[in-house]
C-alpha cells in the first residue's frame, strides 16, 4: 500500500454536450459522464472499477489512456503532472496501455498477428533485429506457446480467448507500467474467462503491473482485486480496500448491485426489487444524490444536497447521507422473494 502510485488521477471530470430532442425542440443537454473521480494505480495492485453500463467506467479508462480529454482534473504519471489533452506523446502511451473488450475489433483483421504486434513495437522505436525475441517473450508471457503457432495466423483463425491474450501480449510487448483493462473478459466464453483473469492477476503479482480492471461482473472483480471502486452515474459511490465493499456493502446502490447477482450458493439471498417506478428510474437526479430516485432509503435531504464521501470503516468510504455520522448502516434488505419462484 505504501508504494507510490505510478498513475494517479485527481478529480477527473468529463462532460459531454449532446443535442437532444427532435424537430423544433432541439436543445443542448449536458451529460456528466464522469465527475470528480480520483484514483491511484500502484505497482503490483489491481484496482477494480465496477458499475452498470452507462456509469462512466469506460470514459474513465479512456481518460486515463488519454484518448478522451478530461473537462477538468489532474493526471500524474510517476508523480509528474501530465498536461490534459490527447496529444499524448509516445512515452505516455508506452507506459500506459489499454486493453479493450472486443479482441476481434482491436486487431487489424487483414494482417497476421505478427504484424499487429510488430507494428506496436516499431512505433515505439524497437529495432527490427529485436522484434523476434520480444514477440516471443510477450507471447510466452500470455501462455500462447509455441509463439510461432500463433504469430503466423490471422486474427479470425484464433478463438476469442486466444485473441484476447494476443491483445494483452501486444500491450505487454512495449513494457508498460500500467495496464488498463476495460471489460477484458466479458466477451469471452465462460470456460476461458478464468484463464485471462488469472493472467491479469499474475501480471500484477509477478511483473508488478499497476492494473485497472473495469467490469460489470462483481464476482470477477472480487476474484482478482486489491481495491474496489463502485461507480454510479459518473461518480464513485463507494470504495474500499480489498473486497470489503463486496462482502459488506454500505452504499444502497452497492447493496442493490450485489443482491442482483445470481448466487446459487446462498439460498437466502434477497432479490432486489425496485420500488421506484420505471419512469423515475430512468432519470438521474440533477440535484442531490444521483441515486436518490432509485434508492429504497432515500430521505428528504438526499433530494436536495449531494452527499460527500464518508468513512464507514478502515479504507472504506461511501458517498451516502446514511453514513454521515460514521455509522455503518445495516444492510437495507428490500422486498424478499416470496417463496420459491419455481414452486
Amino acid at each position: 500500500m505504501s508504494e507510490n502510485p505510478i498513475l494517479e488521477a485527481r478529480s477527473l471530470t468529463r462532460y459531454f454536450t449532446v443535442r437532444a430532442g427532435g424537430g423544433g425542440r432541439r436543445h443542448k443537454r449536458l451529460v456528466r459522464a464522469v465527475e470528480d473521480v480520483s484514483l491511484s494505480l500502484r505497482p503490483g495492485r489491481v484496482t477494480a472499477v465496477v458499475g452498470e453500463s452507462g456509469s462512466g467506467k469506460s470514459v474513465l479508462a479512456r481518460m486515463l489512456a488519454r484518448i478522451v480529454t478530461p473537462t477538468s482534473g489532474e493526471l500524474l504519471l510517476d508523480g509528474r503532472q501530465i498536461p490534459l489533452g490527447t496529444k499524448r506523446g509516445l512515452d505516455y502511451a508506452r507506459q500506459v496501455q489499454l486493453v479493450l473488450q472486443d479482441p476481434f475489433a482491436s486487431m487489424n483483421p487483414v494482417h497476421l498477428v505478427r504484424h499487429n504486434l510488430e507494428r506496436a513495437l516499431l512505433i515505439h522505436g524497437a529495432t527490427r533485429e529485436s522484434l523476434p525475441a520480444r514477440l516471443a517473450s510477450a507471447m510466452t508471457r500470455v501462455a500462447l506457446t509455441p509463439p510461432e503457432g500463433f504469430l503466423d495466423r490471422f486474427p479470425h483463425e484464433l478463438s476469442g480467448g486466444q485473441l484476447q491474450r494476443v491483445s494483452i501480449a501486444r500491450a505487454l510487448c512495449v513494457e508498460p507500467k500500467v495496464l488498463l483493462a476495460d471489460e477484458p473478459v466479458s466477451m469471452l466464453d465462460v470456460s476461458v474467462r478464468l484463464g485471462v483473469l488469472n493472467l491479469v492477476r499474475s501480471l500484477a503479482d509477478d511483473d508488478r503491473m499497476a492494473t485497472l480492471y473495469i467490469t460489470h461482473d462483481i464476482a470477477s472483480a472480487r476474484y482478482i482485486t486489491d481495491e474496489t471502486i463502485v461507480m454510479y452515474a459518473g461518480q464513485v459511490v463507494e470504495r474500499s480496500n480489498g473486497v470489503t465493499l463486496i462482502d459488506e456493502p454500505a452504499h444502497p446502490y452497492t447493496q442493490l448491485l450485489i443482491a442482483s447477482v445470481p448466487d446459487p450458493a446462498d439460498p437466502t439471498s434477497v432479490a432486489a426489487r425496485n420500488t421506484a417506478d420505471e419512469a423515475a428510474r430512468q432519470g438521474v437526479a440533477d440535484v442531490g444524490c444521483r441515486f436518490a430516485p432509485r434508492c429504497p432509503s432515500a430521505m428528504e435531504m438526499c433530494r436536495s444536497a449531494e452527499p460527500p464521501s464518508f468513512a464507514v470503516g478502515a479504507d472504506h468510504e461511501s458517498k451516502c447521507w446514511l453514513h454521515r455520522d460514521g455509522a455503518v448502516a445495516t444492510p437495507v434488505r428490500v422486498a424478499s422473494h416470496e417463496g420459491d419462484p419455481r414452486a
Binding site: V192, I218, Y223, T268, E278
Partner: protein
C-alpha cells in the same frame, strides 16, 4: 405431461462431407408449466437446437434427423399433438406465437427501428386474433405493457427511445401477447446489466406463475439458471452431456464439463483462492475429436474416451442422465464427481 418432446434430434450446417454437426442426437422434454434451462458456451449448439425444432433455421442449417412434437392443450382440456418437423409453413403459422413464442437476445435488432412500439403489438394481434377491432387491440397492448411494468406512453415511442431493459420487457410482452403454452428465451438478459437482469428475471417468474406457460431458458450463465430452472441440460459440442434437476447440477455435478463450468464462476462468498476452471478452448465443431468430444479438456480422460463416444445413461435414481465413461459402473468415479446432493433445508 410434456408440452414439448424432442427425440434424437440433429442439426447440421452444410451438406454431406462438409457438414458441421451442430446438434447431435438430442432428447428434450419440457413438462407443462415448468422451466427447462439449457446451459452451454457459445458454439455448444444451444441456440441451433431451438431454432431447429421451431423451424427457424436458415440455410445452410438443416434438420438432419429426429422428431419434435408439441402437445397443444386445447380450451376443453384435450391434448392434440403437433408434429413440428412435418408441419407445412401454413400449419406452422397457426401455432407460432399463439402456442410457442420466442424472445431473442438482442432486443434492439428484434424491434423494427422505424416503427412505434404500438405498431408491433397491433400487427401481431391483428394477424393472429382477428376478433379484435382497433381499440380493443390498443387496450390489449396497454394491458400487456402493464403486465411487464411499463407505462402506456411507451406505446408511442420508437425502440431507440427506450433503454435496453425496457426493450427486452417489450419483447417479453410481445411473446406473451397470444398466451402461448411454451415460451423460449434465448439469452434474454445477456446484454443487460446485472440489476436490470434481476428485475427482468423476477418479472418473468412472477408472470410464469400467474399465466402458467412453460419456458425454455437458454444462457451461458449457469448460476442464473440454477436459480430459475426446474431442470437443466448442459450442452457441449452439440450434445447433451448432463441432464438433472437444478439443485443436483449445482451441488453435485456428475459430468467433468459441468463441474468445470461451475468452477469457472468465481464465488461471491468465502475465501478467495485461485480457480482453474476448464483448460483449453471449446471444441471446434468442424473438427471434432474422436470419441468423447470433451476428452481433450478432461482431467480424467481415459483410453476409452479417445475412441468411443459415451451414451447418455441414468445415474442414480432421480432421473439424471450423464454421458461420460466414468459413470459406466466399471470405472471408479472421482470424488469430485460423486458429491452427495444436500437435502434442501426448509426455509
Amino acid at each position: 405431461m410434456n408440452v414439448l418432446e424432442v427425440r434424437d434430434f440433429s442439426v447440421e450446417y452444410g451438406l454431406e462431407e462438409a457438414a458441421v454437426h451442430a446438434v447431435r442426437h438430442v432428447d428434450l422434454d419440457v413438462p407443462r408449466s415448468s422451466v427447462l434451462g439449457i446451459a452451454g458456451e457459445s458454439g455448444s449448439g444451444k441456440s441451433t437446437l431451438v431454432y431447429g425444432f421451431t423451424r427457424l433455421l436458415r440455410w445452410p442449417g438443416v434438420v438432419a434427423g429426429g422428431s419434435a412434437v408439441l402437445r397443444v392443450l386445447d380450451e376443453d382440456g384435450t391434448e392434440s399433438e403437433f408434429d413440428l418437423l412435418a408441419a407445412s409453413e401454413r400449419e406452422l403459422r397457426s401455432i407460432r406465437w399463439s402456442e410457442i413464442s420466442i424472445v431473442l437476445q438482442s432486443a434492439l435488432s428484434a424491434l423494427n427501428p422505424v416503427r412505434r412500439i404500438a405498431k408491433e403489438f397491433d400487427e401481431v394481434l391483428r394477424v393472429h386474433s382477428s376478433g379484435l377491432d382497433r381499440s380493443a387491440r390498443r387496450a390489449r397492448a396497454v394491458e400487456l405493457l402493464d403486465m411487464v411494468g411499463l407505462d402506456e406512453d411507451r406505446l408511442d415511442r420508437f425502440p431507440h427511445e427506450l433503454s435496453g431493459g425496457q426493450r427486452q420487457r417489450i419483447m417479453i410482452a410481445l411473446a406473451l401477447a397470444l398466451d402461448p403454452q411454451l415460451v423460449i428465451m434465448d439469452e434474454p438478459t445477456t446484454a443487460l446489466d446485472v440489476v436490470t437482469q434481476r428485475e427482468i428475471v423476477d418479472q418473468l417468474f412472477e408472470l410464469r406463475q400467474r399465466l402458467g406457460f412453460a419456458m425454455i431458458f437458454i444462457t451461458h450463465d449457469l448460476s442464473l439458471l440454477v436459480e430459475l430452472a426446474n431442470e437443466i441440460v448442459v450442452m457441449y459440442a452439440g450434445e447433451i452431456v448432463e441432464r438433472a434437476s437444478a439443485e443436483e447440477i449445482y451441488a453435485a455435478p456428475r459430468h467433468p464439463y459441468t463441474l468445470g463450468l461451475i468452477n469457472s464462476f468465481p464465488p461471491m462468498h468465502g475465501e478467495r483462492c485461485e480457480l482453474v476452471g476448464l483448460p483449453g478452448a471449446p471444441s471446434d465443431l468442424a473438427h471434432l475429436p474422436t470419441g468423447c468430444s470433451f476428452h481433450p479438456r478432461c482431467a480424467w480422460a481415459m483410453e476409452v474416451c479417445k475412441t468411443a463416444s459415451p451414451k447418455a445413461q441414468p445415474v442414480g435414481d432421480t432421473g439424471r442422465l450423464v454421458a461420460c465413461w466414468l459413470h459406466d459402473g466399471i470405472h471408479e468415479v472421482p470424488v469430485e464427481l460423486r458429491r452427495s446432493v444436500p437435502q434442501r433445508q426448509p426455509l
